[in-house]
């Protein structure tokens, strides 16, 4: 079942490259994937073993290198996110002027890479699948991007390459920090080894730092974030949706899946560093976001800023916070994808995204204005949306995990500062809404068409999922419980 999720986009991409009609093939593949992801979610047995739908293929049995896919609740949620965002991204893709086949193939390869990474239970393939997206991203921004696309494409490629090789060192270190006879890349086996205390404590701190920096660069952790806003601003809309919505979650997923459960003591050791950096994400990047003068740049920075909340949930290391972080990954993926999709549509009509040129667009385009408003509210974290439910969990979790004797009241201070982040994001989102959709409408845009009905569907899909998860977060949290339990250790200690 999970193999379908990975293979379907690849097959569609190859067919498109070989001459099949590209857009229908991509739509069909992403629709199939959406259905399969939903089916997997419904078939998942919450009482059964953590990883289900397991299938494997020995690559080098004598080195214990195996192609091994399987999914637990956390991975299923991410797979669903990937499927939804891919579907929406493919759907909202406007007519591609040149190299259409290659465009869709690149999108599908990114999707396949994300699917593979989230479905892998073997760390080697977990890593390798993520990198599958590197070349398509380079091509998507370089060929079809806008603005300063060349420097943006170079920057994201080299930055991510650097990050992923640091991550590779971390994974190799992790592999080598268990006794020789037990070495394996299988996450399940590694978790058992970690539970049995077989992971060498001497190397744990160094390995965790490598993992944190490696994943951190991929997530745009402050101060390694500079690649992100520019790349998202220059990328074509579907690429920005996929990258900001899905691919960036790979690093967070890696922290939740690999770093925390396997190296809990090291995670605690580096908590203070992480807190300082994530406050940088929330406050510093938040202020930078306010000062942005273009909608696309603002969205890019806001996506960097919101990573801070997820980091806060991860840093809390308790069930509440981790649940919140996992759900926020899902929610943020949907909301940022919706925002980029709407911004892309606005940009296509007005051919500028600078705030000073825009205004009053809600009048000719009521649907886009309404949808943008909803997505912006979701992104700020207003009740009713999944973002609210998860951010509340993150804040409660973080506030709770205060440990006596930590400097500056560690977590409590961080939580209070992060709460101010919500105000900051309200400021920039509402200002953006005002600048784009309210106020004086320049005469030349009075006849701009609103979004076609068929194109409304993907945006409605994204927003509806957000609302559903906002009203019934339990449905999703129930899936997350076992994976989060493996990652959180404070309760088990006390």
């Amino acid at each position: 079942m999970l193999n379908i999720l990975i293979l379907c986009p690849i097959v569609a991409a190859i067919l498109a490259l070989l001459g099949a009609p590209a857009r229908p093939a991509a739509l069909l593949a992403s629709l199939i994937n959406l259905v399969v992801a939903l089916l997997a979610l419904f078939q998942y047995d919450k009482t059964g073993p953590a990883f289900q739908f397991v299938s494997e293929f020995g690559i080098l049995p004598e080195w214990r290198l195996t192609y091994l896919v399987g999914a637990d609740g956390l991975s299923l949620l991410m797979l669903l996110l990937t499927a939804i965002v891919t579907f929406a991204a493919v759907w909202v893709t406007p007519a591609v002027a040149r190299l259409e086949k290659q465009f869709y193939a690149c999108l599908l390869f990114i999707s396949a890479g994300a699917m593979g990474a989230f479905a892998s239970v073997d760390l080697f393939f977990f890593y390798a699948f993520h990198e599958l997206a590197l070349i398509p991203t380079f091509l998507l921004i370089g060929i079809w991007g806008s603005g300063d696309r060349q420097s943006a494409a170079w920057k994201i490629t080299i930055y991510l390459a650097l990050g992923s090789f640091i991550l590779l060192l971390g994974l190799i270190g992790l592999y080598q920090s268990v006794p020789v006879a037990a070495r394996t890349f299988d996450i399940r086996a590694l978790q058992e080894l970690a539970a049995a205390g077989k992971i060498h404590p001497a190397s744990a701190n160094g390995v965790y730092l490598l993992l944190l920096i490696g994943f951190g660069i991929l997530i745009s952790l402050f101060p390694f974030h500079t690649w992100a806003p520019k790349a998202y601003a220059s990328a074509p809309t579907p690429a920005a949706m996929l990258h900001a919505g899905v691919l960036k979650k790979f690093g967070l997923y890696g922290l939740l899946r690999v770093a925390l459960p396997l190296l809990p003591d090291a995670a605690r050791h580096w908590t203070h560093l992480l807190i300082i950096l994530l406050i940088g994400n929330i406050i510093y990047i938040g202020l930078v976001t306010i000062s942005q003068k273009r909608l696309d740049m603002m969205l890019g920075y806001s996506s960097v800023m919101h990573m801070g909340y997820i980091f806060l949930g991860i840093a809390s290391l308790n069930t509440l916070g981790l649940n919140g972080a996992a759900l926020l990954m899902f929610a943020h993926g949907l909301s940022i994808a919706a925002l980029f999709a709407i911004a892309g549509q606005v940009g296509r009509r007005t051919e500028t995204l600078a705030f000073e040129d825009l205004g009053g667009l809600a009048k000719p385009m009521p649907f886009l204005g309404f949808a943008f408003g909803l997505a912006a509210f979701a992104s700020i974290g207003l009740p009713g949306f999944a973002n609210f439910a998860s951010e509340i969990l993150v804040f409660f979790g973080a506030f709770q995990s205060h440990v006596a004797g930590s400097p500056f009241f560690g977590f409590r201070l961080a939580t209070v500062l992060a709460l101010w982040g919500v105000v900051i994001s309200a400021v920039y989102m509402l200002r953006a809404y005002k600048a784009v959709f309210m106020g004086e409408l320049p005469g030349r845009w009075s006849a701009l068409p609103d979004l076609k009905f068929s194109l409304r569907l993907p945006i409605v899909l994204l927003l509806a999922t957000l609302l559903f998860a906002g009203f019934c977060p339990r449905v999703f949290l129930a899936f997350l419980a076992p994976s989060v339990k493996a990652a959180s250790f404070r309760e088990t200690l006390s």
């Binding site: 490259l17 380079f138 080299i158 390459a161 090789f165 060192l169 190799i172």
Partner: protein, 491 residues
């Protein structure tokens, strides 16, 4: 099961046959010489799978080993030569332009025959475990390269390359032989095995032996093109005919590395040498990584870029050589070289095809290749992705093994430099990708390739992905089938 030594004999006979064919055939057309070479070498390649690995039975075992690794590198040499011959056929127009004689294809026959002799030398070197044997086979390889590099005798660049290669190569050979004499002077042996036993057992004078070892290392450093012995590389690579450049960068480098591995395996386990030798190897690796990768970044000519990239890859492989003693160091070196063979030869094949049409091998000549010939561009993309080290390609698995052994041995300095230079590598390899896909082509005519070249390109590109996902065939060829090695399972 035939003895491995027959393989070299067959290849040599094949070479002589090709020269005779060139001399006595009345036909003006010389391409059949290359075809016969390709077919013959393919036949020998198949024969390698029916060759005995058994050492003890061989009467030559004192100076000739036919272990898994030797057979592996024999295959390596054969495969390289086959692709070089394909490349030579593709490139024959250029050679013809600069070599004219009484007949239109004069001189081409030898151009096809000489690589076969080089191949015999490379295969012999893969098995040589005695300094005299190593030296003789090294010279067989080097002398045929002297001719090949300067082959286009009416082309100033080729001649310049020939002279530079001749002088520096002769110098390095001098170092190598001088080193051997010092080692012989201390130990009284030329066989690596016996030298190893003496080093571990009796008391030997340290200074002279280390001096000899360093001289040998210098000579080999030239062959593998690592910094600071890399001065010759860019000019020679750019000036030499493209097939010879490919041969140099793959064959000559691999030959240097197999000898280096055999020598390092004898010297590094000796405690009082180990520390010093590893320090020097680390320094060489770090220098090559930094110099190769940084100097490659501003290059505009793809051939020259590949020259610097070849220095850079020597640096990566040297990381693993510095880690000899780790269980996987040898595999890392050999696997990396196998991947390097695939991706480098693929690059040169596409380059030759494009240069034939565009008239040059600068990166700008690749502009818009994605539109003109999507398949060629995709093959080049595969080669560049693999050279840069993107997962699910063979180049990544090689780098993975290198970093693996480096981590195991705690070579943190090299790991740090390695990660930074990998990022630098992404920049200059992706420059080619950028040219192919971002830029608009100067003209829209597709690049034509012969069916043979096309098939070779497809096969190499396929292998890059196949071995990147499923590296087992190469590992098994190096290690033997898993059942023969039960201790592997424990690890």
């Amino acid at each position: 099961m035939m003895p491995a030594i027959y393989l070299e004999a067959i290849v040599l006979t094949l070479g002589v046959l090709l020269v005779l064919m060139e001399a006595f055939s009345n036909s003006e057309e010389k391409t059949p010489v290359a075809w016969l070479g390709i077919v013959g070498l393919t036949f020998v390649f198949i024969l390698t799978f029916f060759t005995a690995n058994d050492l003890s039975a061989s009467p030559y075992s004192a100076f000739y080993h036919a272990d898994f690794r030797a057979i592996f590198f024999k295959r390596f040499a054969l495969l390289t030569t086959i692709v070089v011959l394909v490349l030579s056929i593709e490139y024959r127009g250029v050679v013809q332009k600069y070599v004219f004689g009484s007949r239109p294809q004069a001189g081409l026959g030898e151009f096809y025959a000489l690589p076969v002799f080089t191949c015999a030398g490379l295969m012999w070197m893969a098995s040589a475990v005695d300094f005299i044997m190593i030296f003789v086979s090294l010279e067989l390889v080097t002398i045929s390269f002297y001719i090949l590099v300067a082959y286009m005798r009416r082309n100033a660049g080729s001649l310049e390359a020939g002279v530079k290669y001749l002088i520096l190569s002769a110098l390095s050979t001098g170092f190598f032989v001088y080193g051997i004499t010092w080692i012989y002077g201390v130990t009284g042996q030329t066989s690596l095995e016996k030298i190893g036993a003496i080093l571990l057992g009796l008391k030997v004078s340290h200074g002279p032996l280390l001096f000899g070892f360093m001289l040998v290392l210098t000579g080999l450093g030239f062959k593998i093109a690592c910094a600071p012995f890399q001065i010759w590389v860019p000019d020679v690579y750019q000036g030499a005919p493209t097939p010879v450049t490919a041969f140099l960068s793959v064959g000559s480098k691999a030959a240097g590395f197999i000898v280096l591995m055999r020598v390092a395996e004898v010297f590094l386990p000796v405690p009082w040498i180990n520390h010093k030798a590893v320090t020097i190897l680390v320094a060489l690796a770090a220098l090559s990584l930094l110099y190769g990768n940084l100097a490659a970044m501003p290059q505009h000519n793809l051939k020259r870029l590949m020259a610097y990239s070849s220095i850079a890859h020597a640096g990566y492989i040297l990381i693993a050589v510095a880690c000899i003693g780790s269980r996987y160091a040898n595999i890392a070196v050999s696997f990396y070289l196998a991947g390097y063979l695939l991706m480098t030869l693929l690059t040169f094949l596409v380059m030759a095809a494009v240069a034939n049409q565009a008239g040059g091998d600068d990166i700008v000549h690749f502009n818009g290749l994605g539109k003109r010939s999507p398949y060629l561009a995709f093959a080049m993309l595969a080669a560049m992705a693999s050279l840069a080290g993107i997962p699910l390609t063979v180049g990544f698995f090689g780098k993975f093994l290198i970093f693996y052994v480096a981590y195991e041995k705690g070579q943190f300095l090299l790991m740090g430099i390695g990660v930074l230079t990998v990022a630098a590598g992404f920049y200059y390899y992706f420059k080619v990708v950028r040219a192919m896909y971002w830029k608009e082509p100067a003209d829209d005519t597709p690049v034509r390739t012969s069916p043979l070249t096309g098939a070779t390109i497809a096969a190499l590109a396929f292998c890059i992905f196949f071995l990147g996902v499923y590296p087992a065939p190469v590992i098994r060829a190096l290690e033997g089938p898993p059942s023969d090695n039960p201790r592997l399972l424990a690890r």
